[in-house]
């Protein structure tokens, strides 16, 4: 699991003073554009997003259309990537499967961000007992292995794509609480925040004007990287039968079925795996590029 990827350090970005650094966006964009691997990641992600969006209009067979006369057929002109265990077109299911994977990745991370960032801000900014309670809960959740937590939650909620997304989202939440809390702590200690407090700016304004803009970049980076993790997690859950349910296609559930036919129909197992790999690689490259672009230390 890529959860152990280079942590986004608190000190990396927090030093930025919005007043001194006049046009950070254009600088960031320039750095990002020149970042070759990030662009590669962007292209990969764009490709799969395009695939997912265009699935309904592409000239491909119905992903649920069965053909009992053509079960587990090797790739041919009629079925470029072959057919599956009940005669459905593997290419078509791959393309439609992109929807499930991307949706799972993005939605579960949105859940994690929506839950994690507010909790993190509250813990970091207000401190005291609130912080102690939130922090202990976060630590406790982080101590339980991510995938085991997700499996248990998915089993509790019942097998479905929505439930898998919720399970992954909740499991990833502590990551964002911890990150946000750390960011808030370091930003809140900055002089300009002290100054704002001194001139009596209300808490809400301090939070929206100074704190939030400063914690968003690292959250964005972490979110991009977590999408990669979440996509693998969804595939893992589907592989264990806890994700997307048939006849709707998803890469993980395609692999779950395919592993029973490794001998007779290896193509069934090959392509969904390649697709997962490429889209996850895309998000990882993209996240890395974003981090470098947003990190003032890297020149």
């Amino acid at each position: 699991m890529s959860r152990a990827a280079t942590p986004v350090t608190a000190d990396a970005i927090s030093a930025r003073d919005p007043v001194l650094d006049r046009k950070p966006e254009s600088r960031v964009w320039k750095k990002f554009r020149s970042h070759r691997s990030a662009m590669l990641g962007g292209v990969l992600v764009a490709f799969f997003v395009g695939m997912a969006i265009l699935a309904p209009v592409l000239p491909i067979p119905d992903p649920a259309a069965t053909d009992w006369g053509a079960v587990r057929q090797a790739p041919s002109a009629a079925h470029w990537l072959g057919t599956d265990e009940i005669g459905r077109d593997v290419l078509s299911r791959m393309i439609w499967g992109a929807q499930a994977s991307l949706l799972a990745g993005v939605v579960s991370v949105l859940i994690a961000v929506a839950l994690g960032v507010p909790f993190g801000i509250v813990a970091g900014y207000f401190g005291g007992w609130t912080d102690a309670v939130i922090s202990r809960c976060t630590e406790a959740l982080l101590a339980a292995p991510f995938l085991i937590l997700a499996i248990a939650l998915a089993a509790f909620l019942g097998p479905s794509l929505t439930n898998a997304m919720i399970a992954i989202g909740i499991s990833a939440t502590p990551l964002f609480i911890r990150l946000t809390r750390g960011q808030v702590l370091s930003v809140a200690a900055e002089d300009y925040v002290d100054g704002a407090r001194a001139i009596g700016l209300p808490t809400r304004k301090i939070l929206t004007r100074y704190i939030l803009p400063n914690i968003l970049p690292p959250v964005l980076v972490q979110a991009t990287l977590t999408i990669a993790t979440a996509i693998i997690a969804e595939a893992s859950l589907s592989f264990l039968g806890l994700g997307q349910q048939p006849p709707a296609p998803s890469w993980g559930s395609m692999l779950n079925t395919a592993k029973n036919f490794l001998n007779q129909a290896p193509w069934m197992a090959l392509w969904p795996g390649v697709a997962i790999f490429l889209v996850v690689l895309g998000f990882n490259l993209l996240g890395d590029g974003l981090r470098d672009a947003l990190d003032p230390r890297e020149q």
Binding site: S2, A5, R36, P145, L147, F156, S236, N284, L285
Partner: protein
């Protein structure tokens, strides 16, 4: 220093208590009546009622929790509902398996990740760096379970080079034991190698720009000597600390790998237990893993402070 350690331990206690609450609620959350699963096709109401009583499922939930925690503190994690084995014994049986797997994966990861990281840092910005980075990210991006399936398909089914599954205790037959674990350790190690490579690279970059490396270079030492002797040695501290932490991750990461290769370790035990609704086992394993993870963190923190005199004075 002592007060720092004491404080860390004191903080860990409520966390562990919270974990025990989470872990316990797992049983209440999971759907499916455990007693029904235990009874199998026997639906005699008397038997069902007896089992409910025996596993204290009729008690109020707080009482059940108090009972469970009370026993857990005394080292009794209950019995597996499926095999009637004490959970602690099961864990003791499975832990060495997963530790062997994790150790082998770690060796793989370090063997690949650290040299690649050094190379990448020394040649920063070159094609080598770029390629190493993409390869590392690829390692992070490959789904473990898929890599496992593909290896079984090629190495075991097609070429018949290595066994597809199983486990031989190291003490019984070391060579065979290592052989059987080669593929799973590789699968588990790939993602870790990537992480290690990236950390080594970043640690090395920091050190390479530091004053004493510059001084060493100025003294006219060979570049090889500068990198391996001065730079790497200094970069090693954070890498080792991180590796210790990653080891915990590794044990958690073993979940799917063990499932694919049918390795009778920790991960397989817990997944099977979730599916069989063997609550005592699920609770026991998650609790032990979580506590282990916290202890690892604690040790890493302490080690970090010990290794950094600057931090020591602050605490």
């Amino acid at each position: 220093m002592l007060s720092f350690i004491l404080r860390r331990i004191l903080i860990a206690i409520p966390t562990i208590l919270l974990i025990s609450v989470f872990v316990f609620s797992l049983q209440k959350l999971l759907p499916g009546d455990p007693v029904l699963a235990m009874a199998g096709e026997e639906r005699d109401p008397e038997v069902i009622a007896f089992l409910r009583e025996k596993y204290r499922l009729n008690d109020p939930i707080p009482v059940q929790y108090a009972h469970w925690v009370g026993n857990a503190v005394r080292g009794d994690l209950g019995m597996s509902l499926r095999t009637n084995q004490p959970v602690l014994e099961l864990i003791g049986e499975k832990l060495p398996v997963t530790i062997q797997l994790a150790t082998m994966a770690m060796i793989f990861a370090m063997g690949i990740g650290i040299p690649a990281g050094i190379l990448s840092a020394v040649r920063k910005g070159t094609v080598t760096d770029y390629v190493a980075n993409v390869v590392a990210l690829s390692g992070l991006s490959i789904p473990n379970f898929w890599l496992g399936i593909m290896l079984i398909l090629l190495v075991s089914v097609k070429w018949q080079l290595l066994p597809a599954s199983g486990y031989v205790p190291f003490a019984d037959d070391p060579w065979r034991s290592v052989q059987v674990m080669l593929m799973p350790a590789f699968v588990l190690g790939t993602a870790l190698a990537a992480t290690l490579m990236r950390h080594t690279r970043s640690a090395m970059l920091t050190v390479l720009t530091s004053d004493y490396v510059r001084t060493a270079r100025a003294k006219g030492l060979s570049e090889r000597r500068v990198i391996l002797k001065h730079a790497f040695r200094n970069a090693l501290t954070p890498i080792v600390t991180l590796s210790a932490l990653l080891f915990g991750e590794l044990i958690a990461g073993a979940v799917l790998t063990e499932q694919i290769f049918t390795i009778p370790g920790f991960g397989k035990l817990v997944v099977d237990a979730v599916f069989n609704r063997d609550y005592a086992v699920v609770q026991g394993i998650v609790l032990v893993t979580a506590v282990g993870f916290i202890v690892m963190n604690l040790l890493a923190d302490v080690a970090y402070v010990l290794l950094n005199p600057r931090l020591r004075s602050q605490t």
